[in-house]
């Protein structure tokens, strides 16, 4: 932080300097191929099942450490997030082509999914969690 900016902020007692003008522009949110790859990783399923810390994961952890078989591979975590990739020609079909491009361009969200996401984001912002 520059000295003058720091002095000004200190003088104003402003402890919540934030980039709100940037945080608002979520309409341009893109889903990058890395995001897509992650949504296809079944190991992230436990995040969905035990969303609240302190609930739900213990039993799974114990079962797995006792050598119980893993989750069914058919299980698709984050159905809602994942659905944004539907109609894209399936897993990785575009990824190879994109990888060959010098500057890979991330996906644009389909319009109605953008709206859904924006609703969620504005809800989060309303609750002060954004």
């Amino acid at each position: 932080m520059r000295v003058d900016a720091k002095a000004l902020l200190d003088r104003l007692g402003k402890s919540d300097f934030t980039y709100r003008e940037f945080a608002d522009r979520f309409s341009e949110l893109e889903l990058w191929p890395l995001f897509e790859a992650l949504l296809r990783d079944t190991r992230l399923a436990q995040l969905e099942e035990g969303a609240e810390p302190g609930h739900g994961i213990v039993a799974g952890a114990v079962a797995a450490s006792a050598g119980a078989p893993g989750r069914e591979p058919a299980h698709q975590p984050f159905a809602a997030l994942f659905s944004r990739y539907e109609g894209d020609g399936g897993a990785g079909s575009g990824s190879a082509a994109r990888a060959a491009e010098p500057e890979p361009t991330p996906h644009e969200l389909p319009p109605q999914d953008v709206r859904m996401l924006l609703r969620q984001l504005s809800e989060l912002q309303r609750k002060g969690e954004l």
Binding site: G13, F17, F22, F26, L29, D41
Partner: protein, 244 residues
Amino acid sequence: MALLLCHSSKGGTGNTFVAAHLALALVEHGADVTLLSTAAMDSLPLHFGLPPSTRLPGFNAGADRAVVASGISLRNDPRAPADPDFAATLRDLGFLDNGDRVLVLDVAAGDLGLARALLPLARAHVCTLPAAPESLSLLPDYLDIERGCWSDHSVVAINMLDETRKLTRHTAAFLRELLGARLVGRVRRDEAVPEALASLQYLSRYAPASAALADVAALARAVAPMLERPTLAEQIVPGRSWIA
């Protein structure tokens, strides 16, 4: 004593910074806090305005050798990662018995084995991550029960958040969706953090208006209640220790 484990999937994410500030916040809330780093090359003293020549005592060193900053007993035990009995030693010394004391452990990312061994004893595990591609790509392995370091008591804090950067913004939003309630805080990138280190000053003194300072305080408010909960070990065999 409640154990608060700070360990990240990746080095250089601000794990030590977050551990130091969680410890400071807990002291402010009236807890009796020991902050133990297990890094061989330890930058912990710097976060307390102490000069680089500072040598922190080992975990078992007597009170006469204690280095206390802001009421926190600072310690460094670089042998812990190679000591297979470290977790058992913690228990045997009575450090994990109930009480008002809190042990904040700063375990470097590379010491995954130690973090895994400590995880069942921890009331809370905070994984500090920047909103960056590497953080995302390591997440499935980090959550993997066989290879990673993730339990019911694990939560994530985004650090070095810079929302002027498009990819950071998108990655943070994605992490938020992915982690839900497991994402307990976000700390903005703030030059005042390294500047305070260079000034050999506490961040709170160097830049009281620091965005990162306010954020890390909010993070501490989210993490503190977790320390009231029983550990994973206590949940599995109530009243009995995890390590037989």
